[in-house]
Symmetry: C2
Subunit: 239 residues, 2 copies
């Protein structure tokens, strides 16, 4: 998102008026200083100042003063499969888009689709999260908000990503295992219990919950709107 | 980089003059329509219009019309080790920075430093290039120029990256093997010949030269300034 600052606009208003009035005075003086001609001058001014205003705008377009971009952040959703990460993070992404914020959405499924060879061993998960974190940090450095939704079960790799980013906002979607398993939206827990999926976080693989996340959301007690609203509230200082 | 379009500025000039003249007319009419009072009105106008101009700017700040960002591109340098990729790509990066373009620099060495486990087998190189390409495409999607410098020896993976990007500009730094080996800036060719480094592109690993790159630069016949200048020339339509 690009916005001009208040100070920039005040400066433009002052500079424009000085220029405009100076132009009028010179014109009136050239036309022998009589007040009666002021109306003629007004008509001339009408067109002359349109040209001047335009020139003035083009000159200001080269001036950086007061140009700013909103400071971005990386909002990292971590939690078990089925905890509600995707739903909440999508909600937040849509809300930022609606507010005209420059924002990118990254999630585990879509990136794994592109790189199908990425496995689920500790090392592969770790590398995967670090790489995505690097991508997120590069986007952040270039003024883009990032909404990232990854199980990211290991505290170490989340810590690594935090280190790469300027503003890292960790959102722990803390819906407990039994609730996620009860919902079992994608039927994955059942398969994991039957042993059809290995390395399944929460069943056959550990989940290291963040100790001090910026935000913790338990979807047993929050609707999507409430959870998303809390994230937006937390981001208020950024736009 | 953020710039306002010419059309936007013309529209602002027209709207401002209409507003300003309307305000003057109303003021003159309120003060009993006599021309002599025009000078008093001028003084009043001087201050009133500063406030109006400011308000006018604040309103325009909410309007998207004519706001634009420069269209970015991914400039991908490929070539043998020691061919001059880094020197030229750095030159181009610095030049874009100097021109206030939002730009990110990505190269093999710095990314491998961060992910030391990335190997040099065909599959690992391939995955590495694809991942970096994904990063580059995400930056491009968000309005950031990308200068990428990677040996990227396999045509397949470069083609994959081309497919991800909107504007992919492949720059083949085509300095031939014997010249790269003669220079041997980092002493890597000597080590590769001695067998101390395996999977070394050009010696013990293939390099698939691009058939139709957007640009081909042979540093035997070009200085850095000339080579960099050619790239900037190729990018002229982008900013």
């Amino acid at each position: 998102m690009y916005r001009e600052s208040n100070g920039r606009s005040v400066a433009k208003a002052l500079s424009w008026r000085l220029l405009g009035t100076l132009a009028t005075s010179v014109l009136v003086w050239v036309f022998t200083g009589r007040v009666g001609i002021a109306l003629t001058v007004g008509a001339l001014e009408f067109f002359a100042k349109i040209a001047l205003f335009w020139l003035h705008e083009r000159i200001w377009d080269r001036v950086k003063l007061g140009r700013r971009e909103s400071r971005p952040a990386v909002v990292w959703f971590t939690g078990l499969s089925g905890s509600g990460k995707t739903t909440i993070s999508r909600w937040v992404y849509d809300e930022l888009k609606r507010r005209d914020v420059r924002v990118e959405y990254l999630d585990g499924d879509s990136i794994r689709d592109l790189f199908p060879n990425t496995g689920f061993s500790k090392e592969e998960r770790d590398q995967h999260v670090r790489r995505v974190g690097y991508l997120a940090s590069k986007l952040e450095q270039n003024g883009v908000f990032v909404i990232a939704s990854f199980i990211s079960p290991y505290a170490d790799s989340r810590q690594f990503v935090r280190g790469l980013c300027k503003s890292f906002i960790e959102v722990h979607v803390s819906t407990p295992l039994q609730e996620c398993e009860r919902r079992d939206v994608k039927g994955l827990y059942r398969k994991a219990r039957l042993g059809e999926i290995s390395n399944f976080t929460g069943i056959s693989d550990p989940y290291e919950a963040p100790e001090c996340p910026e935000l913790r959301l338990d979807t047993r007690f929050l609707t999507v709107d409430e959870a998303g609203g809390k994230v937006i509230e937390r981001l208020r200082s950024y736009f």
